[in-house]
């Protein structure tokens, strides 16, 4: 290992020497070119030797893929794609009977969504590695992923919302994750003329409580705001704990050709919601309980099955009835991200159409509220005087600022979409320290813990929207990318550039040790409470009632029990309930039947999963294990005989020629 390092360094030395001799070297070590990378030894900084572990987990949203992918940092190696809002044939997610309820909504089964912002749960303002939340934009939902299993554990639908974008940012102890609406929608939802927008449309901000024990989500309350487009959010921390900030654009209240119509006001607003005050108003009963219809879907790890419950009410707070609940902070211009620094004092409004970057002060905001330094009032919400709340302005840092994260050492890093770069600047003095190019058009950026109280200021990831010429071409559709920078020094340094799954819209990073040791290896079979489990081969059987057939099947290296089934008829609904009896790490079994109209099953050790098969023609059809499980994996196969609807072939099942299942 040590020898390898030495050899590797020697090779690097030789290479950079050659480049120097050939006269095309770049001794300044600029971060773009490959010569610069070699001279800076970037390769060794991201090199994690085979068999060794990465320092950080990175959770990258898949954007329009609807999923969440798990990478190692600094290597950029992909470990897993966790299916969340979209069907995943590979894992049977959304295809098997157990996970279908997770995708239930008030619109029925919705098998896709646009997943933007992963957000790790926090304790005391620090990521704790228990859960990660992610929003579904299109059909407003928030999902919770359990980080002991890396599986989707819960999805809650958000009523009175359209375009759940400013979500699911957490409070300091994950008391709440929030869900703001990007699109105003009629409140209550009804059939009205679109041009009655200002009159009929509203924008509801939702606070979802998180049970500190099991993480279960519940819609605690909603706050009714004017129909601006609420774009992003972040909750306060430290001194500003108790507040959540939402950016808005379209304060013009327009509903068509927004690219022009919603870009007219010099300043839009950051809405500051005092959620501790909201809790008081709820306690005092100052809420309206309004009818709603939304799904709450929870996966049970013991029954290995999700259930979907429809809920019918939600508590709504109206700011004009609740003084002190909401304030507007004027912010130039169409601010996108709103980011709170680790101390909780500075609130950065990334005005995407503004030439400057505006930073508000939380303490000035409190003083302005105290002094009633208001410019106006909109639907009972005071608009604070801009000059009374602004802390400073970063002058002409770049074009199109979108998002800011922090390194915990007094620096802020802001992405600029239009000028395709990240700019490092100092909190308090507002001076620009450094800038690096991104390839290309960076959206979010991520520093592990960079939006928490305790950032790990070692690496930074840029999440790029387009790649153009960066990789080998793959036809008209090319990958999006992530770029890893070293931010441990004064200057940012590009280390690595890697393609991602879907759109890596936003990401979260966390030191590996906060998750690694808690990761489950298998499900104890004795805890399996699936109603159709088979606890051993002695339980394997086939039962018929009418045209419904239940096959209680088990898997263990390297056979199914039963593996020969007869007496199935055309038109039957055959449920294969497959229990994986294995109790070893990394021994899933797959299950696939010819002609199935859904997908495979991929059953983890100790788990039961169910698969519906509806045979349409007579014959004998094979099934087999799809996950290469053992030396005799190819032998892990079986047959199911399908007879005519009127046949009187008896139901029969077995395993092995001489043996019958006892």
């Amino acid at each position: 290992m040590k020898n390898h390092r030495i050899l590797f360094n020697l090779a690097l030395l030789l290479t950079s020497g050659l480049i120097f001799l050939s006269g095309c070297g770049d001794p300044s070590g600029s971060s773009g070119g490959s010569a610069g990378l070699l001279a800076d030894n970037a390769a060794s900084q991201v090199y994690v030797p085979p068999g060794e572990y990465d320092e950080f987990y990175g959770f990258f949203s898949g954007g329009f893929s609807g999923q969440l992918s798990v990478y190692g940092l600094p290597s950029g190696r992909l470990f897993k794609v966790i299916p969340v809002f979209s069907l995943d044939g590979e894992k049977g997610y959304g295809f098997n009977e157990e996970t279908k309820p997770l995708l239930n909504t008030s619109h029925g089964f919705v098998p896709w969504d646009d997943a933007h912002h992963p957000e790790l749960s926090q304790t005391g303002g620090t990521t704790d590695g228990r859960w990660i939340f992610i929003n579904g934009n299109n059909t407003p939902r928030v999902a919770r992923i359990d980080l002991t299993t890396f599986e989707t554990a819960e999805i809650i639908e958000i009523p009175n919302s359209g375009g759940n974008h400013s979500s699911p940012f957490t409070t300091e102890n994950s008391e709440y994750v929030v869900a703001g609406t990007r699109f105003g929608v009629p409140y209550p939802q009804k059939d009205v003329a679109i041009n009655s927008y200002a009159e009929n449309f509203r924008a509801m901000q939702t606070f979802i409580s998180v049970d500190p024990e099991n993480g279960e989500m519940d819609i605690a309350f909603q706050v009714l705001l004017p129909a601006f487009d609420f774009d992003l959010s972040h909750s306060g921390k430290g001194k500003s704990h108790g507040w959540t900030f939402f950016t808005s654009y379209n304060t013009e209240n327009k509903h068509s050709l927004l690219e022009v119509a919603a870009s007219q006001n010099d300043k839009d607003f950051i809405a500051a919601i005092n959620w501790k005050k909201a809790e008081e108003y709820i306690k005092e009963g100052k809420f309206h309980e309004v009818p709603a219809n939304y799904a709450h879907n929870v996966y049970n790890e013991k029954t290995h099955t999700a259930t979907s419950t429809m809920k019918d009410k939600v508590k709504v707070l109206i700011p004009s009835e609740c003084p002190g609940l909401v304030y507007f902070l004027p912010t130039p211009k169409s601010p996108h991200g709103v980011d709170v620094d680790p101390s909780g004092e500075y609130i950065v409004g990334n005005g995407k159409l503004s030439a400057d970057l505006t930073v508000h002060s939380f303490s000035k905001m409190l003083k302005a509220i105290e002094n009633k330094a208001f410019d106006a009032e909109i639907e009972g919400i005071p608009v604070l005087k801009f000059e009374e709340v602004v802390a400073g302005v970063v002058k002409e840092p770049g074009l199109g600022p979108l998002h800011t994260e922090f390194d915990g050492k007094g620096n802020a890093y802001t992405t600029f979409f239009i000028s395709s770069e990240i700019v490092k600047w100092k909190l308090g003095t507002w001076e620009v320290v450094d800038r690096v190019p991104c390839y290309y058009s960076v959206g979010h950026l991520m520093i592990p813990g960079g939006d928490s109280k305790t950032p790990e200021g070692k690496y930074m990831v840029a999440l790029n929207k387009i790649t153009k010429d960066r990789y080998l071409p793959t036809g008209p559709e090319v990958c999006h990318s992530a770029q890893l920078y070293d931010i441990s020094g004064e200057k940012m340094k590009l280390l690595l550039d890697f393609p991602t799954i879907g759109e890596p819209h936003y990401a979260q990073g966390i030191p590996a040790d906060r998750i690694q040791s808690k990761s489950k290896k298998f499900y104890p079979i004795e805890e399996n409470e699936h109603p159709y489990r088979a606890m051993g081969e002695k339980d394997a059987r086939v039962e018929r009632s009418g045209n419904i057939v239940h096959v209680y099947m088990t898997t263990i290296r390297s056979h199914f029990a039963p593996d020969n089934i007869e007496g199935i008829k055309v038109g039957d609904k055959v449920y294969f309930h497959v229990t994986n009896l294995e109790q070893d790490y990394d021994v899933p079994h797959g299950f696939a039947v010819m002609g199935a109209n859904n997908a495979e099953l991929l059953v983890m050790p100790g788990q039961t999963e169910t698969f519906l098969w509806e045979p349409k023609k007579e014959g004998v059809f094979p099934f087999y294990c799809t996950d290469f499980c053992s030396a005799l994996h190819q032998e892990m196969q079986g047959y199911i005989r399908v007879s005519n609807q009127n046949s009187n072939i008896a139901l029969k099942w077995g395993l092995g020629e001489d043996e019958t299942i006892q």
């Binding site: 104890p524 079979i525 004795e526 263990i556 294995e582 109790q583 070893d584 050790p605 030396a631 005799l632």
Partner: protein, 208 residues
């Protein structure tokens, strides 16, 4: 310190009870796909493993080459060995009560004999599992046996099998040693006492 040998003997006898708490032997199978190994523990009254699934995992590995399924219910020793151990504890306590070094020694020797019989029995089981192979085994290798070593390590196909005494096995060994130490200290004491007595009987005149 007068009661030291007796005390040692009590500790030795009661120490055997550790056989009911800790495993006495472990067998670990190592292979590239099993970086942490598959470790099976043998207790006086049961078989166990690193996890609840260990025995099943060992059986799954063994079935490829046609080895018999290891079924604790099919090993009668696991049900009657505990009684032998309890008997030994009682005998040890009896020896301590008698305070007779000859009985201390006898108990130690009995322990050695029982341990040897136990090890031989263990060897026979290992031999049986390693040689008594199914005719329908998926993998058959002419002349290959799969018997793990009694003590130490051996390469069996792609696995390295390591077999070693574990906590209560070592403790039982210490108990045997303790009984010998108890006997030795007690014998020495008795000898000193008799010399002393002799001195007291014969020397007083000189002192006067």
């Amino acid at each position: 310190m007068k009661n030291l040998p007796r005390l040692l003997m009590v500790v030795a006898a009661l120490g055997l009870l550790s056989l009911f708490i800790f495993p006495m032997w472990r067998i670990t199978l190592l292979a590239p796909q099993y970086p942490d190994g598959v470790t099976m523990y043998i207790y006086i009254n049961k078989l166990g493993g690193e996890s609840s699934g260990t025995l099943q995992n060992v059986n799954i590995l063994n079935h490829y080459v046609g080895m018999k399924k290891i079924d604790p219910d099919a090993i009668p020793e696991l049900s009657y060995f505990p009684y032998i151990v309890i008997g030994l504890v009682v005998l040890g306590l009896g020896a301590a009560w008698s305070n007779n070094p000859r009985l201390f020694l006898a108990w130690g020797v009995l322990m050695v004999l029982v341990s040897m019989v136990g090890l031989y029995d263990f060897y026979l089981w290992e031999y049986d599992y390693g040689h008594n192979l199914s005719d329908t085994a998926p993998i058959k290798i002419e002349g290959q046996s799969y018997q793990p070593p009694l003590i130490g390590s051996a390469k069996i196909l792609n696995f390295i099998a390591v077999s070693m005494p574990h906590t209560s096995g070592w403790l039982a060994g210490i108990c045997i040693l303790l009984s010998f130490v108890a006997a030795w200290v007690s014998f020495k004491k008795k000898k000193n006492e008799s010399t002393e007595k002799y001195k007291l009987d014969t020397v007083p005149n000189l002192v006067d």
